[in-house]
């Protein structure tokens, strides 16, 4: 079946070769990981969940295996270090396995209840917010699909609470998504204050993939303005199990006049992914800081691609009519 990204490619005549190649690679990686994990005897109420580039179907050669081991509650945790070790050991046998980042957000046991119940307030720390948002915005299962989907249901049921009204974007989840995007931006500045390491990679991603991730959540939530409350959970679930680029493509396809803008937006992102696929570009980005970035042709190119992505998304969000009204009424206050 044709995906929204493929439909946008067909209708606009603009190609997305890197994004579609990344989808195939992500699918292959996931298949290998699902097969490997099938043999494990994990507790029934657990699931290995992939986020990151594999989770959002944008894997390139060398993509990290950003996964979390979802478990039912903290009483499972005493056994989990061994469960986690088993998962790590099994995934580590795969030729293309790349250990996830060292920040502790990934390759860790995550208590499902924490994702669902700790929204806001003290207990919802940076790691919990990040995990929950990535679970919503860019995740897929690698083991126990049922448990993964039940968790997705649980998070959505928590958000679509008594405050939500028919034909209005649900503000709870909307505010949390906006909070997460702004947190990423603020944390970027915080990390820069700590030191210039990885400034180039972080800035490049903030301009491109992080923006795509945010928009991929924002657009379906705003689209809830067209449906009744009881339709919102199945609608959002249906959206969040697809890649963010499909959600964005789908929003651009909704109206004839935004198809060209949508194709240019995703073509710019496609080009960014193409650049990031080369070790040369990744290595250069690793070395850049705020001062050297001005002199880097690669960084200037990525900056332009980021502007194209942002311009396209803004055109969609503020297109005269209902879109502009929704954006004005819900995205500022």
């Amino acid at each position: 079946m044709e995906s929204p990204l493929e439909a946008l490619e067909r209708r606009s005549g603009i190609r997305f070769p890197n994004l579609l190649r990344a989808r195939d690679l992500s699918e292959n990686k996931l298949t290998a990981r699902r097969q490997a994990l099938e043999t494990l005897d994990l507790v029934r109420e657990s699931s290995v969940v992939y986020v990151g580039s594999i989770g959002r179907a944008e894997a390139i050669e060398g993509s990290d295996d950003d996964f979390m081991l979802l478990v039912e509650n903290s009483s499972d945790l005493p056994n989990e270090p061994s469960g986690l070790a088993l998962v790590n050991q099994t995934l580590g046998t795969l030729d293309d396995f790349e250990a996830p980042g060292s920040q502790g957000v990934f390759a860790a046991p995550v208590v499902r209840a924490h994702l669902i119940e700790n929204i806001g307030l003290e207990a919802d720390d940076n790691s919990n917010t990040t995990r929950r948002m990535l679970f919503l915005l860019e995740s897929t299962w690698a083991s126990n699909q049922l448990y993964y989907e039940e968790t997705l249901d649980g998070i959505l049921e928590r958000y679509i609470d008594q405050s939500v009204k028919d034909f209005r974007p649900p503000r709870f989840i909307l505010n949390d998504m906006i909070r997460y995007w702004r947190t990423m931006c603020v944390d970027f500045a915080g990390k820069e204050y700590q030191g210039p390491e990885k400034w180039g990679v972080r800035n490049a991603k903030l301009r491109t993939s992080r923006k795509i991730l945010f928009a991929g959540g924002l657009l379906p939530v705003l689209a809830c303005a067209g449906i009744r409350k009881e339709e919102m959970i199945p609608y959002l679930k249906g959206e969040f199990v697809t890649p963010p680029t499909d959600r964005i493509a789908s929003a651009f396809l909704d109206q004839e006049e935004t198809i060209d803008a949508g194709a240019r937006t995703l073509a710019a992102y496609d080009k960014f992914l193409g650049l990031l696929s080369t070790a040369e570009a990744r290595n250069e980005l690793e070395t850049l800081d705020r001062n050297s970035a001005d002199k880097s042709d690669l960084f200037q190119q990525i900056k332009k691609l980021g502007i194209s992505i942002e311009s396209g998304l803004l055109a969609l969000l503020f297109q005269p009519g209902d879109s502009a009204d929704l954006s004005r009424n819900y995205l500022v206050f």
């Binding site: 606009s12 005549g13 603009i14 006049e257 935004t258 198809i259 060209d260 803008a261 194709a263 240019r264 937006t265 073509a267 001005d294 200037q300 190119q301 332009k304 194209s308 311009s311 396209g312 803004l314 055109a315 503020f318 297109q319 005269p320 502009a324």
Partner: protein, 232 residues
């Protein structure tokens, strides 16, 4: 900010578009006075501008001005390269234009004035090719522009909606240009043309006629090539 067209705002696609700005090309009285041109342009919009160096002798002074004045309020800055009074060899001109890198987002060139395309490759995606009007002998149709882009694969496209209309008032050509070069689109030139095909303020009739084509360009800056009502 006053609306940028004569059309009532409710019916105007231009009035609702962002980002937009003006070309300094119509500011004849302020020729050579870049500060005054910037000031006038800022009165219309501070989001986008096209600084016009249509005559070759204006290119170096503009370059010097931008070097001296790195901070301007506009988010999108385009430079319109020379289309008349050409004296420099192509390679010499490209060398001068390449010094605009980092000072602007785009350099617009008329394809009919580019005699040898190969030196322009050096400008990469900074170079933007504009479609020409019915007066010109080339560079107006898809068939005429395709070889240009084949030789300049990184170059982008400036869609002049009035130029397209001057060749094909049915606006089929406008659609064909957008079909062919949509992925390269950098920005749009918006105006009407008088009988001599000179740029004049966008008329309400033309705005209606141009709306379907402009609707395909919602994500890029629109540059008004003739004075909007606010500037009289």
């Amino acid at each position: 900010m006053a609306p940028p067209t004569l059309t009532p705002v409710d019916e105007s696609i231009v009035a609702k578009h962002s980002p937009y700005g003006v070309s300094t090309g119509f500011m004849w009285d302020e020729r050579g006075r870049w500060d005054a041109q910037i000031e006038l342009a800022s009165q219309v919009s501070t989001t986008a501008v096209e600084l016009s160096a249509l005559s070759e002798e204006e290119v170096e002074p503009l370059l010097e001005y931008l070097r001296r004045t790195p901070s301007l309020p506009f988010r999108f800055k385009s430079v319109h390269g020379p289309a008349k009074n050409r004296r420099l060899e192509e390679s010499e001109l490209v060398e001068v234009l390449s010094r605009f890198r980092g000072l602007c987002d785009a350099i617009v060139m008329h394809p009919d004035t580019m005699l040898d395309l190969s030196p322009y490759k050096a400008l990469g995606s900074l170079l933007v090719i504009e479609n020409m009007d019915a007066r010109k002998t080339g560079g107006g149709t898809v068939r005429e522009l395709e070889p240009v882009f084949e030789q300049l694969p990184e170059a982008r496209f400036c869609f002049d909606v009035a130029h397209a209309c001057s060749i094909d008032p049915s606006m089929d050509l406008a659609e064909q240009l957008l079909d062919a070069f949509a992925s390269r689109l950098s920005h749009v030139h918006v105006s009407s043309l008088d009988e001599d095909l000179h740029h004049v303020s966008l008329t309400p009739e033309d705005e209606i006629r141009f709306t379907p084509a402009l609707s395909r360009c919602l994500d890029v800056p629109w540059i008004l090539e003739a004075p909007p009502p606010i500037l009289g």
